[in-house]
Structure formats: C-alpha cells, structure tokens
Point group: C2
Chain length 244, copies 2
C-alpha cells in the first residue's frame, strides 16, 4: 500500500523499455518527431524512454519544475494550464492521444516547464528524456526541420489565441470553438460533439462556466442550434457567427 501510494504520487513509472514489436513502439516510430530519425538512433532513444501512467486529476509536472522530459500521450487526456497567483486556472491546451507535449522547452534557455500538466482522465504516456532527443536532433537536419515546423505551428496557434482573446468576444470565441469541433456537416447544418466537460471548455475559452451555459442557452433560444447532452446540432452555420 505504502509503496503503491508513493508511486502514485509521482505517477506510476514502468522503466522497462518498450518491445520493438509492441503497438506503442510502432506508433511512436511513426510520430513526425521521430519518423525522420535513423533506425539506430530511434532504438537508442527508445531505450531511455519510460512508460508512465497517471490517474485522473494527477499532476504530471508543475509550472516552474525543472524540465528534463517531454511526453507522448498514448491513452487518456492531459490538460496544460496556467494558474494565477489568485488561484484561478486557465486551460491553454488539451492534449489528446497520439500527440506529444512539452517538446518545445527543449530549446528554451530556461529549462523549466512554462505550464502545468494535469491528467483529465486516467492516462498512459511515454516519458522522453529531452537531452537524449536533442542530441539526436543535433545530428539530424531532417528531424531538426520537423521540430522547427512543429514549434512554429504552436507559435502560430498561440498568436491566433491571442487574437481570439483580444479582438473577439466570448460569443465569437465559442462559435470558433464549435466550428473547430464539427464532426459532420452538410449544407448549412452541422453536428458537433463536445469531448470535454463544460468547465474545461469554458476555461479554454477564458470564460466562466456560467457564461458558457448562458451563451449556449441564447443560441438555443435564437433557434441556431439544439443541444442533447454532449451533442449539438447546428441548424444554421451562417447564423452561428453573426458579426464577421
């Protein structure tokens, strides 16, 4: 019990390296941050990669922690957030399976996580030592270029987010969010599936859950959409974005 508790505290860690025939090995191999690597290089890297599991609500790392690893999410959901001195939390990003996160700190002067990572659901991930990866990249222009483009994409996403926050209001931010999550569309109608709990969505949009609730209510009242639990039917995509 004690031992188990201790492991939970830092997330469970399985140091045994991955098998070359495991599905995870293959998935990782195909990831764009690794696909450019030579087979040998990849194998040396995998040897220092550890599997890790997190229970829902567990924190993987805190903002300001020394950053020695970046992560690949295999199963689950991880949120990257900022916490204000006053205690309020802002969700910057929600990472879904198949994606890496925190790879960008590898090249920052200050080797500290600029965000906090917390599991939104029970999750399993791969912990990749930054140092080892950087060494490989250094010798591999292709990987370097991919990494650059990856980081630039992040940068661009952040610029768009700042735009959302400053030149758009809550309603249009919600519209953008909804449009980004359409699962099926035809003509002027669409179906949307909300994959996250409402309060996480609210934080992503930098509004309060109450406001999110009210905005959705308004849209329903306007006849723009109908809501059935986590599924939303948009009746008029045109009217979803009134002031563009």
């Amino acid at each position: 019990m004690d031992a188990q508790e201790a492991m939970r505290g830092a997330g469970m860690l399985d140091s045994s390296c991955m098998d070359a025939d495991s599905p995870l090995y293959a998935t990782l191999r195909r990831h764009y941050l690794f696909s450019g690597l030579e087979q040998d290089d990849f194998d040396t890297l995998v040897a220092v990669v550890a599997a890790k599991s997190l229970a829902k609500g567990e924190v993987l790392f805190h903002r300001g922690d020394e950053a020695n690893y970046f992560y690949f999410l295999d199963v689950g959901l991880v949120e990257l957030n900022l916490v204000a001195p006053t205690g309020e939390k802002k969700v910057l990003e929600v990472v879904s399976p198949g994606r890496t996160f925190a790879e960008a700190i590898a090249f920052m002067q200050e080797q500290k996580y600029p965000v906090t990572a917390e599991a939104l659901a029970d999750s399993t991930l791969c912990q990749i030592p930054i140092r080892s990866y950087v060494d490989l990249v250094y010798a591999n222009p292709d990987a370097c270029m991919r990494l650059l483009s990856d980081v630039c994409r992040h940068l661009h996403a952040r610029v768009r987010e700042i735009e959302n926050l400053t030149v758009q209001n809550a309603r249009s931010r919600l519209s953008s969010y909804l449009l980004d999550h359409v699962v099926e569309t035809s003509d002027d109608e669409a179906t949307i599936r909300l994959e996250l709990p409402r309060h996480v969505i609210a934080s992503r949009l930098s509004i309060q859950p109450e406001t999110l609730s009210r905005l959705l209510r308004n849209m329903v009242d306007e006849g723009v959409l109908t809501i059935e639990d986590r599924v939303i039917f948009v009746h008029s995509l045109a009217r979803l974005r009134p002031y563009d």
Copy 2:
C-alpha cells in the same frame, strides 16, 4: 515623381548588396541567427539580402501575404499587429533595431505572414530571403539549434502574454509593462521611460487609450508614481503591484 511614388508604395528597395566592411554587415554577422554560420555561407546569404526603407505608417506586409522574406531591423521601429474584421487593431509586438522578425514563418506549413508589419517610424531594414536562409540552416546544426531556441523564446513570450490577458487585469498588465521598462532603479524606487506613444502601449496591453490614461491617473493619485511627459518616477515599487 511617379517613379518615386511607386517605390514608396512597396517601401524603397536598394538591391545593391552590402559591403563587407559596412557597419550593417558587421551587425548582421553578429546577430545570433547568423553568427553560427560559416563565413562562406554568410557571404552567399548576404549577396541575396536587400536593404529596404519604410516611411512612418507604411506597411511592410499584411497578414495573409505570401511570405518569402524575413527582416532585420536596422533603424526605426516596426509594429506587428492583428486587425479584427471589425477594424480594431491589436499590437502584438513592437520590434526595435537590432532585432529580426517574421523569421518563424520560415518553417510553417502555410507560407503566409500571420501578422501585419507596419513602420511606427521611418525605418531601414534588411530583407532576407527565407528560402536561402532555410537552405543554410538545413546544413548547419548550430544555426538550427539557435533558431529553435529563438522560436521557443517567442513561443514562451506568447504563453506569458496569454497568461497576462486571461489571469491578470488591466492594472496588473500595466504594472508588468512598467516593470519591464525600468531604466534605473534603486531600493524601492525606479525611473521608467516610455518609448512608445500612449495609444501603442494601450494596444500592446489590450486596453483603450482612455483606460491607460485613467489607470496612470489613479496611480498618481495614490502617490505611487509621478509622470513628467514620457518619464515616470515610481516612488514605491512595492505598491505598484498591489495584488500579487
């Protein structure tokens, strides 16, 4: 007259390549994006670099323009901004001499400027073909690493900005701005020089000029600081950030 007008329209361009003994050549050589390059590589690059000058208010490129160049600012001041469909403008960043900008788009999938660049003062800059630079970097791990760290620094700055916008209010954003612009400090006092017109500062902070004016007024009324045109004397640094 006609010819001059035409040139102004797109900014004046001087295609003659730089002399190896000009001060600008030396400055560029020392810039961290170039200092890692071999002398030969640098010289081939310089051969395709063009000098450009902009009058105050002139736009260098618009958001969405095809991106073939990034820039080094030699003299002047350039603002990077976003314009909302409604016409309001948000200043993302103000570039001062000695800095490069737009280097990050080099590695984005979409080769379009994500922001608009506008001269805040008469400026002269170097126009560097992205393609040529990328080719060099590709062959040069050192330069690649520097570039990565540069882009990551930008990314981190954006994350901090999002934090400012969401978890801090206008007053603390202003405090942060002031603290970032201290020119002289001793004990609990400091002197600050505002290098930019008030309305540009306001936009950087995502507030209206009126609000900026009022916030400064409040601080003066509270006895926290005194203002003399563009110079601000802070009497109590402690009281500048009341709620941290």
